[in-house]
Amino acid sequence: MKLAVVGKGGAGKTTTSSVVARRLARQGLPVVALDCDSNPNLGISLGVGDEETERLVSMRQALDDGREEHAPTWDTLLSRYGSDGPDGVRLAVVARIDNPDPG
C-alpha cells in the first residue's frame, strides 16, 4: 500500500497520516512514514518528539549543504535518515525547509 495524504494547511493531514501509519503497524505491517512537508511535523504526531523530529530535519538539511552523502538506495536512505517511532513505524524526513523561490 502506498498512501499520500494531502489537503489545506491545518486540515489534519499530519494527524491523519500518523494515526493511519501506527494503526497499520499495529496490525503487523512494515510501515514507512515519509514526511514530505516543507514544514515537517510528522514526527510530533507519530510520537517521536520535538528533538528527534528536528534531528531528522537537520540531517535532511545537511544533504543540501553537502555535509552528507546522498543515500544510494532506498534501504540505505531509510537506515541512514530514518528513525524508529512507536509501534515500529519507520519515519524519514524527505522535504527540506528552506526552498528558494522559483523564477
Partner: protein
Amino acid sequence: MSAMRIAFVGKGGAGKSAIAGTFARTLARQGAPVLAVDSDPLPGLAFSLGLAIEDTPPIPDDAVRERREGEKGPRWRLRDDIDPLDAVDRWSVAAPDGVRFLQFGNIRGSGNNLWKPQMAFLQVVRALPPHRWNVVGDLPGGTRQAFTGWGHFADLIVVVVEPTAKSLLSGRRLARMAHTRDEGPAPRVVAVASKVREPADAEAVGRGTGLAVVGSVPWDEDLAEAERRALAPLDHAPQCPAVRAVESLVDVLCEERVA
C-alpha cells in the same frame, strides 16, 4: 513616518488569513491606505476581507516580461511601461472599508505560467514607494516562503502560532530563519498567539518560539463560524472577542511604530 509593511506567516490553519483580513480592514478604518496581498495559491484572504472569490480577477500574462540577456535579478518581471503604483491601481480590487486587495497566488490562472504573474507581482509590491501603501500580506502556510522572495516586502513578520506542539515547532523554525533572509536587512519578527483558551497558552507561545508575543487572539466560536460560512469575521461577528483582539493588535503595532 513610513507605511507599515507586515507579513503574516505560520503553520497552515493557525489563523493567518482571518487575522490578516481583519487587521487590514481595521487599519483601513483608521484612515490608512491599505493594500492587502494574498500570495497563497489556496486563497483565503479574500474571504476574510469580505470578498467573494469570483471578485478577484487573474493578472494578465502580458503584464510580464522575461529577463533580458545580461540583465540581473528575477527571471519574470513587470513590463517596463507599467509603473508599480499603476499596477496596483489596475489589478487590485476594492474590498470593504477601502482596502485594496491584490491576489497573486491565484491557482485558477493559466496553468504552467502561473509563476510569471506571481513573481512579477512580488516585485510590484517590493517596488512600491514606502509612503503610499500600508501593505498587509498573507503568506503561504509553513516555513518555506517567509524569508525568501515572498516575504521581502515586509519589515515586520508576524508569526501566528497556536499553542500546539506542531504550531510551536513551526514558530520556532520561523524565528530561527528570520536572520537568514537572502537580501535586505533582517525584518523584525514577533508572534501572535492564536486560538488561545487560557492565559498559559500565550505564555507557551512566547516560551516555545522565543519571540515577543504582541497579541493574543482567543479561541472563538464566532470566528470559526465565519470561516465555515466564508464570511469576513468583521461582517459576521464584529464584536466577537477574536475580532476585538485583532483590533488591539492593530493599536499595539501602530503605537509601537509611532514610538
